[in-house]
């Protein structure tokens, strides 16, 4: 460095301590321990728009603060300063003469005398307008985030409450539906001498009433009547028609239990009871059991219903041909044909509704080579073919055994079952019941 430059720097730096104090880039303030201002620099005076005479000996530091800031000063700042001898970086607002507010950061130290007694408080005051604006922005963002979080929490709680209420309503409704469904079926099947009868009802969805129904009842002369059917559609409308069908059949059977006559009566009642577009119809099999020798003679008539399966005592299984019947309730006349078969010891007759054969399944059983006459339904449904094969594997079987196997099958089909399924199995025990 050349001598000339050195001299120039020295001259530049040769500012008086007084000048450094007065025109420092921060405010300086000295107060007595009670807060009275005894010294203040030009920088702070210019920020406040005050003269030295207005402040020195006349005002306290707290007088420069906003009212809220003054409370903070008295409850936090002053006690901490007293106890610690220093406090730094406290955010406060100064009030200027023109009423504007100046955000500042204040750092104070207590100057003690030789005896350790506190004498003065010295404070440096930094302009914190920009920092404060940024902090306020941060605080605002934090509060917004907090509010958003609280709002989300409230929404979650409301949703949870709504879900619980809906759950309760749902369970309540399911309870009502289950009660109604049970009312469409006999609470239990009667004891028929020489016959084992087992029924099963599989509900596809607890939210929907199915239209399947069945019954087994005495005709009073040693004979027994039975039926199993399926009303089209689901829900309360289907349930009402189901109820109509069941009670119509039971009442009509008192008059003429012949299967074909029952179907005709039911068709007339349902056709007459049609309302508007709700053209409900049903498929049904009705029958009469007449004790014959060591078994029963079964007289059957079908109204468009899938054919019943007969599982023979010798292990064969096959569908009873019940073609010829038409859907019940759709047309003014519903002609049907009557077929007759024998149930001998070890034979089991299975009636079912189409929920089973309509079940969706990805792996329909392969067609065995020995059954070319009965091609599988290749539409992803369980189908009559699969059911016959299943029954053939079961036979010979008691009604209880058949129903148990079918119930397990229904469980396996699970989600694939769109519709309810009713099963009624009637069989003659091999040995007389002791």
């Amino acid at each position: 460095m050349k001598g000339g430059e050195h001299a120039a720097y020295a001259a530049l730096l040769e500012v008086s301590a007084e000048d450094l104090y007065e025109n420092a880039p921060c405010g300086y303030l000295s107060t007595l321990m009670d807060g009275r201002i005894v010294k203040v620099n030009e920088t702070l005076l210019s920020w406040l728009g005050r003269t030295r005479d207005e402040l020195v000996g006349r005002r306290r530091f707290a007088d420069l603060l906003t009212v809220g800031g003054r409370i903070y000063h008295e409850t936090h700042f002053a006690p901490l300063l007293r106890m610690q001898g220093e406090i730094s970086g406290i955010a406060l607002e100064l009030k200027a003469a023109d009423g504007t507010r100046l955000p500042v950061l204040v750092t104070s130290t207590v100057k003690t005398g030789d005896d350790g007694e506190p004498l003065l408080v010295r404070s440096t005051i930094f302009d914190a307008s920009d920092r404060r604006a940024y902090e306020i922005e941060l605080l605002r963002a934090r509060m917004e985030a907090e509010e958003a979080r609280a709002a989300a929490e409230r929404a979650r709680e409301a949703a949870e409450q709504a879900r619980e209420a809906a759950q309760y309503e749902h369970e309540h409704l399911q309870g009502v539906l289950a009660t109604l469904q049970r009312s469409l079926l006999p609470p239990s099947l009667p004891d028929v001498p020489g016959l084992e009868a087992v029924a099963y009802y599989h509900t596809a969805s607890p939210d929907n009433l199915g239209g399947d129904f069945y019954d087994l009842y005495p005709l009073g002369d040693g004979r027994w009547g039975f039926f199993l059917g399926d009303v089209s559609g689901k829900g309360p409308g289907a349930a009402a028609v189901t109820s109509l069908a069941r009670y119509t059949l039971r009442a009509a059977a008192l008059h003429d239990p012949a299967p074909a006559a029952l179907l005709s009566t039911l068709n007339t009642a349902m056709y007459a009871g049609r309302s508007g577009e709700e053209g409900r119809y049903c498929t049904i099999i009705t029958g009469v059991l007449t004790p014959t020798g060591d078994g029963f003679t079964v007289t059957l008539a079908s109204g468009g219903h899938p054919p019943p399966l007969l599982l023979y005592a010798d292990g064969r299984a096959g569908y009873l041909p019940t073609t010829g019947g038409t859907l019940i309730g759709l047309l003014a006349e519903a002609p049907s044909t009557t077929v007759e078969t024998r149930l001998r010891p070890g034979d089991t007759l299975l009636l079912y509704t189409d929920g089973l054969i309509e079940a969706r399944t990805d792996d329909s059983p392969e067609t065995p080579d020995d059954a070319p006459d009965d091609a599988p339904d290749d539409d992803g449904r369980y189908g009559e073919h699969a059911l016959r094969i299943f029954a053939a594997h079961l036979a010979p079987a008691t009604p209880g055994g058949v129903i148990a196997a079918m119930a397990a099958l229904l469980d396996d089909l699970g989600e694939g079952l769109d519709d309810d399924t009713a099963l009624l199995a009637l069989g003659v025990p091999r040995a007389p019941i002791a």
């Binding site: 809220g68 800031g69 409370i71 008295e74 002053a78 106890m83 955010a91």
Partner: protein, 268 residues
């Protein structure tokens, strides 16, 4: 619930002496009494504590419902009195705690022999015919100041402090720890302190009462001291030659002497 640790209760001084209970106000904690305790402890058994939410209390015991009303703070005091089986206490309440003491004495008179109300104010907000000194907007400003200064508080330290009230060394190094408060707790205490109107409670006081005010106090001005004095029949008012709202720090000798003399007096 262990009240002693919950409220960081400290008992020092002369065993068997008159019991003097020192209750801090809004802002800091029992450390505010540090300069007067040595004098009082000479003749009295001094009970110090922190309200739940302040100082080294157990912050996990803090419930907004409880501490959003002054009754919650009074319950803290009564819990301590029951736990230590204190009777004939001389209760010294600073600032808002003065009114807490008034409430406690009305609830369980047998436990309180005398009240010292240190710079009390039964109501900080101005009303029609009453000058408390502040408006509701001023209190909002105070809340802003609290927001801007999380003294000694940081999100990283909070779990340590809150989860370990029995391990104060975790927070030992923190500066400003005497006034350290969870911002949420501070906000609730501030609102309860400055927005409660307890003027009606003053009429319930039945015990000898000493009111200590400062010559200049921005928080509890002298006209409020006069109001309290007038509202409590038989009370005595002493104006300390002190400035500010914490005479126990700014004029500890005079404050301690006034309290000690009042404690010493035999009931008239």
């Amino acid at each position: 619930m262990n009240v002693r640790s919950r409220n960081n209760v400290q008992v020092i001084g002369r065993k068997g002496g008159p019991v003097v209970m020192l209750a801090h106000g809004f802002g800091c904690d029992q450390n505010l009494w540090r300069l007067v305790v040595p004098v009082l402890a000479e003749e009295s058994e001094v009970v110090l504590f922190d309200y739940v939410g302040s100082g080294r209390s157990d912050l996990s015991a803090w419930r907004e419902e409880r501490y959003a009303v002054l009754d919650g703070y009074a319950e803290d005091v009564l819990d301590i009195c029951r736990e230590l089986d204190l009777r004939d206490v001389v209760f010294v309440g600073h600032s808002v705690s003065a009114m807490v003491g008034v409430m406690c004495a009305a609830r369980e008179p047998a436990r309180f022999a005398k009240l010292v109300l240190l710079v009390p104010s039964p109501c900080y907000i101005d009303h029609l015919d009453y000058r408390g000194g502040f408006s509701a907007e001023d209190i909002d400003e105070l809340l802003d100041s609290l927001e801007a200064n999380y003294l000694g508080w940081s999100a990283t330290m909070a779990p340590l402090i809150m989860g370990n009230p029995d391990r104060p060394e975790l927070a030992e190094e923190l500066i400003n720890s005497f006034c350290r408060t969870d911002p949420n707790i501070a906000r609730v205490f501030a609102r309860t302190t400055f927005l409660t109107d307890s003027r009606a409670d003053l009429a319930t006081v039945r015990v000898p009462t000493l009111i200590l005010e400062c010559a200049e106090d921005a928080i509890a001005p002298r006209e409020v001291g006069a109001y309290v004095h007038h509202a409590i029949p038989g009370s005595r008012l002493i104006t300390l030659a002190a400035t500010g709202h914490c005479p126990q720090l700014s004029a500890p000798e005079a404050t301690a002497a006034a309290i000690a003399a009042f404690v010493r007096e035999s009931p008239s």
